[in-house]
Symmetry: C2
Subunit: 479 residues, 2 copies
């Protein structure tokens, strides 16, 4: 057998090469892969000569044309260089690849959870979602699968307008709705829009969700604290600030509903300062003791942006939300949306429209509302049975309550105890703009566990709370 280069031996006998050739139907493709691998792994170095196509073909029992085609392909891809009359060589630019990096090891998650911000995803209506998607895809005209209205699917915006008018008292028509990948996406859009108009600061409730502060700061807005008391957010944002993000239906995370007088005072503030209010209605569908309080937006649709999502009602993984915008902000928000370049799949939007129109969404919300109310009652009972009793705040609505702990509780010890008990818990600490001197508190997301695990999760909470270090009294079993 004729050899034309020092690497040829290596080649014809390489187990990698023969494995590759055996494993695949296309011998030329397999040869190409083997050569690429040899270059990447460093077995073939830049400027190394390759065997002639004739000799390699003979070695491997391939047609010469097959080898020649493989060389031509790899030359086109930049792995090899060919000059007339000279052997084909490994190209100078074809450096070996860096070693592969391992997938980040997912952190070991506790088996039980009372994490805030997550609904019971085990209750996600899979069958209804599939049925809605099938109906949506059966009737959608093909042009809808190309790029459409930058605000989002017209069918979804129409269904949302009707739904939000009926269930949340939102004043809207489909034209002022912009579909988002969730509240954070809408917030990023608004921050960019406002920054472009020259605003440079934004008031956010203290406490609030810390990721929202990060997004505002990332859009070069200075975040000012909007204090929260028993009546909800203050109606007097810091002087000079002309945007306030609030959670009127159920303050996040403390849980009170914005008092009627505050609602009007906030609207008056916006009118007096030509300011904008962003209403984050993150769990407004869940109200247990009476009818949900209608959206603040209804009081002044030209000064309040209404924002909602399906993250609490269906699943956070859907990444689907909406903004209802004052007319003057629709076009600027769409410009910001273009630059952020996030968009929701039209198929998913049409599915959601179908879910709303068919009534399946309402049914799901009603069903989960009953379930969450039951869980809330059990949790409150457990907290009241502690010594001293823990009085939860924000119990009338939403998917979590806040439990203030005795002032000398060591939160770190408590969290360590939760970890020991395989229970995911949140404290209030990260939500404060400045946590210094705040009373230790737990924020208990009772929606997160699947239904079958709820009783056991509460039992674990009781065990965590019963700790000499935290001076929280005796443990109480819920069953």
């Amino acid at each position: 057998v004729k050899r034309s280069g020092s690497v040829a031996d290596d080649w014809a006998s390489s187990p990698i090469l023969t494995t590759a050739l055996a494993a695949r139907g296309g011998r030329r493709v397999a040869l190409e892969e083997a050569i690429r691998d040899a270059i990447r792994s460093g077995r073939l170095q830049p400027s190394d000569p390759l065997p002639s196509s004739r000799s390699l073909a003979a070695d491997l029992g391939l047609a010469r044309g097959t080898v020649a085609e493989a060389y031509a392909q790899l030359t086109a891809e930049g792995y090899l260089t060919a000059r007339p009359g000279a052997p084909t060589r490994v190209a100078a630019g074809a450096a070996p690849a860096e070693p592969a990096i391992a997938d980040r090891t997912p952190a070991e998650r506790p088996a039980f959870t009372l994490e805030v911000g997550v609904p019971d995803v085990a209750a996600f209506p899979r069958a209804a979602w599939i049925a809605a998607m099938r109906r949506a895809l059966r009737t959608a005209p093909s042009p809808l699968l190309a790029l459409g209205d930058p605000r989002g699917s017209a069918a979804l915006r129409e269904a949302l307008a009707t739904h939000l008018r009926r269930t949340r008292g939102v004043v809207t028509d489909p034209a002022r709705i912009v579909v988002t990948c969730g509240f954070s996406h809408g917030l990023a859009m608004l921050c960019r829009t406002l920054r472009a108009t020259g605003l440079d600061e934004i008031a956010m409730e203290d406490p609030c969700l810390h990721q929202h502060r990060t997004i505002a700061a990332g859009a070069s807005l200075r975040v000012r604290a909007l204090p929260v008391d028993e009546d909800g957010a203050s109606a007097s944002p810091p002087a000079g600030t002309r945007v306030a993000i609030v959670t009127p239906a159920h303050q996040f995370p403390l849980g009170m509903t914005l008092a009627p007088a505050r609602r009007n005072a906030l609207i008056a503030w916006a009118a007096a300062h030509d300011a904008l209010i962003v209403e984050d209605d993150y769990d407004g569908e869940y109200r247990y003791d009476h009818q949900p309080v209608g959206a603040l937006q209804g009081l002044d649709p030209e000064r309040v942006v209404y924002a909602g999502t399906v993250s609490k009602t269906l699943a956070p993984a859907l990444r689907l939300g909406w903004l209802v915008l004052p007319q003057r902000l629709v076009e600027p928000a769409l410009e910001a949306k273009d630059l952020l370049a996030g968009e929701v799949s039209t198929i998913e939007q049409l599915t959601m429209a179908e879910l709303l129109q068919s009534g399946a969404y309402d049914r799901h919300v009603r069903r989960t509302r009953l379930r969450y109310r039951r869980r809330r009652d059990l949790l409150i009972e457990l907290l009241a049975a502690q010594t001293p009793p823990l009085t939860p705040r924000g119990i009338a609505a939403g998917l979590h309550v806040v439990a203030e702990l005795p002032a000398d509780t060591d939160e770190d010890l408590l969290m360590a105890r939760a970890a020991d008990n395989d229970l995911a818990l949140n404290t209030l600490t990260p939500y404060w703009h400045d946590p210094t001197g705040k009373r230790p508190s737990l924020i208990l997301g009772y929606a997160a566990p699947p239904d079958h695990a709820f009783a056991q999760t509460l039992a674990l909470l009781a065990r965590v709370l019963y700790s000499p270090q935290t001076r929280l009294g005796r443990s109480v079993s819920t069953r």
Copy 2:
């Protein structure tokens, strides 16, 4: 009937109120809506007194408790104010809503299209997509429906790693893949990441997709032109520039494949300048005359970002793409992704993973490749039959060709003629960084029409090209 305020007459006889009451099951809810509407429409003004609950109940034939509850709800929502011993009044902050804005009238779109950038969405594999989603949702553990890995679903990243290695010669493992809402989203992420490292300019091919220049500029990067000749993009970006976005498989929009020597020269440039290349592989799956040219990224995975999407293979409306990143850029890109706040539905990601793993994706690409190749051949035939013949460029791959027109062609007249013939067409003009002095050219997206309309679309193109103004010779029918 007793009246307690001047508005009471208006009320009990208002057709809006009675319509509302008649239309709905819940009378209290209906009453609330009617009162909100009256306030928003200005029929009730701030500080107007409302009838006592007793008298309004009598007027409307409702229980007094129903009216009292409605008043309480509207007081909680800030529409009304109540003080003991005084009539309930419209709250001062409850201003009337602005008039509704009409939905933006969708521009009348031509019935036929040769637009660039859109595949044949009528060929979208709806049944396969539904089946894949059903399979994905049947087996997905519920925790996947909460928020997961910020890079995207592990199942999708694994399926993509295998697919990209096999079909595009990409060197990757799942850990360096980040799922995006399409190429623009990935580009926005990269621009933000690079800007954060202090880079302030970026080289983009001239011509290139103008929206990409807008996104880079929106991330405060100065866009420099990277000239394109017959061998594709120049391998010498402007001095000082350390990022270049290129389309090696099929230059967008001109259509040539990056020449082997250029591929190596670009990699050498990146190595010499510690620079980054972004490979926009927007239609690399579609190669007609021989095997697709493998990804540039394979030559140097630590200096080339590989970017792909399903926008050309499945549908742009899915908003689903991916970046394959050098190891050092994974975490910075995820930080940028957090701030852009766009994310793809996990259900959609799992569906795509299933489509890849089942082979349905490959089958769809093969089927459409045959279809597009047939269309391309018909289009080239038609162009060659013009007087003078039009020689298309970039025919070996992708979903469009570029046809240079005689130098004195009036593009505006040609486009007007296309509009008259109900045909959507694109010229090359918007793609140049500076269109001054460029030769008039059409960019013909032959993938866009549905199959049944393709012959007629070509006939319309022939009619548009046959125009004394554009001096493009006689019309040729394709049938």
